[in-house]
């Protein structure tokens, strides 16, 4: 697998471009075990204006990065995710944990408080949780 970390980006986008992350998000949240480019395009078209060729190019790039496998199905390819979302996050964990700082406390807190400057990040995380809740309820 050939990845390059992207500075200033977080989560999925840490190692994937925005559209790549959006496509992988669809594949994982819709639990697509096997899909064609058109399947992903159908979902993406509801969120933004996008051309078939753009999606196809991005899916091929994800295949080349090793995140997808593919088999030929007549004149098209059927793609499958190689890793689950959890496995992908685990594989990106090194860059996250390398920046960790030891708090020197012999105590286990649910989480350390963060500064007010991170309030926006906490808002984003809450929004993500809410979004996933809505996705699962659908």
């Amino acid at each position: 697998m050939n990845f390059r970390l992207r500075s200033g980006k977080k989560g999925l986008e840490l190692r994937l471009h925005e559209l790549e992350a959006a496509i992988m998000n669809i594949v994982w949240s819709k639990r697509l075990a096997e899909f064609a480019v058109g399947d992903v395009l159908a979902v993406l078209e509801k969120q933004r204006e996008i051309a078939y060729t753009t999606v196809m190019t991005t899916v091929v790039r994800l295949y080349e990065k090793g995140l997808l496998t593919r088999v030929r199905d007549g004149r098209r390819y059927l793609y499958s995710p190689k890793l689950s979302r959890e496995e992908f996050l685990e594989s990106t964990a090194r860059s996250v944990l390398d920046r960790a700082v030891d708090n020197q406390q012999a105590m286990a807190m649910l989480v350390e408080r963060v500064s007010e400057a991170s309030a926006a990040e906490l808002d984003n995380l809450e929004a993500l949780i809410q979004l996933r809740r809505e996705e699962l309820e659908k």
């Binding site: 944990l97 400057a117 991170s118």
Partner: protein
């Protein structure tokens, strides 16, 4: 003067040369384990914990035990450790062991940072929360080990945490708990239950000491300790979900706990939220696909560590103390060279 050479120079050699080299070897081992492990830096937590702690404690214990053995040369391990033969006592190795133990103890005490006390509250609000927690524990089949291990506190800004080294307890802040639904609180308690079962406060304390007694511990191993603790938190989230906690309410509780109170805003420095984000995203992934328990029981780390310590203590008595002899003669030669 020559009698003092070995105890002082020998102990200094162990602290300034042996321990740093051991930390360097441990660091190489940690880098290897983190890169070849299936789950990378999120996996092999027990092996990494053993590498982090044993790099300081095992060499130290070996030299202490060897010093004790040489103090009563020719006697069995049990005789050296328990039944001291005053007649045949050799004071140089005994002094070496005492100086080394004192140096290690001082360094460990210097590194110790107390957690500060959290008061147990008996206010009406605290009693209501205690009843609520008791009800949640009673209703859950997986939170049984938290019975009689919950402490409620009105302490300002306290959220949720596990304290206590040998009989840990979970402290719950009343103001924080008031912001959580039952499902969030129950899931958060599931996370803390994993810390409690694995005696994590004690394990963190041992880590703190291991880093403190090694002069290069902070420099070489602290980043690995921080990474290990981050991975341990993520592992407790995973274990809580496997035991029945709901991933999304747990994620919600974690984000709420991370928010600073009005009083804390000025006091808190900029903290990296990357681990928090990783944990939340892992929990979102668990909501999509239930996690499997990958790390074998983390509680096995403690018995394995104790067996290793026991073997290290016995080793000089069974195999010999050649390395200590080398340190002994080396210290005396250095002194002779300096005095010449």
């Amino acid at each position: 003067m020559t009698e003092a050479a070995f105890p002082v120079l020998g102990a200094a050699f162990v602290v300034l040369v042996v321990l740093p080299v051991s930390a360097l070897v441990a660091k190489l081992g940690l880098l290897l384990v983190e890169s070849v492990g299936v789950r990378g830096p999120l996996g092999s937590l027990n092996v990494r914990y053993l590498l982090l702690t044993s790099s300081s404690f095992l060499p130290l214990l070996w030299f202490l035990s060897a010093g004790v053995h040489q103090a009563e040369t020719g006697h069995s391990a049990l005789s050296c450790l328990l039944k001291h033969e005053q007649g045949g006592l050799c004071f140089e190795p005994a002094s070496f062991a005492i100086v080394l133990a004192a140096m290690a103890l001082l360094a460990a005490l210097r590194s110790f940072s107390p957690n500060g006390s959290v008061p147990i509250s008996r206010s009406a609000e605290a009693i209501r929360l205690a009843d609520r927690v008791e009800r949640l524990i009673g209703a859950s089949s997986s939170l049984g080990s938290l019975r009689r291990r919950i402490v409620v506190t009105d302490a300002s800004g306290f959220t949720l945490g596990t304290r206590g080294y040998f009989r840990p307890q979970v402290f719950v802040g009343t103001s924080f708990a008031a912001t959580l639904t039952d499902q969030m609180l129950s899931s958060a308690l599931g996370h803390e239950q994993e810390h409690l079962r694995s005696l994590d406060p004690l394990r963190y304390l041992i880590l703190q000491f291991a880093l403190g007694i090694n002069p290069c511990g902070r420099f070489l191993l602290a980043p690995h300790v921080a990474g290990w603790k981050g991975a341990r938190e993520a592992d407790c989230d995973r274990a809580a979900v496997i035991e029945g906690a709901s991933p999304l309410p747990l994620a919600d509780a974690i984000v709420r706990a991370a928010r600073p109170t009005v009083r804390e805003v000025a006091a808190l420095g900029a903290r990296n939220t990357a681990i928090l984000e990783l944990r939340i995203k892992m929990l979102l992934a668990f909501a999509e696909c239930a996690p499997r328990r990958l790390e074998r029981d983390s509680r096995s780390a403690m018995p394995v560590a104790l067996v290793l310590l026991f073997m290290t203590v016995l080793l000089p008595h069974r195999v010999g103390t050649g390395v200590l002899d080398f340190v002994h003669t080396g210290a005396e030669q250095v002194l002779t060279y300096v005095w010449r």
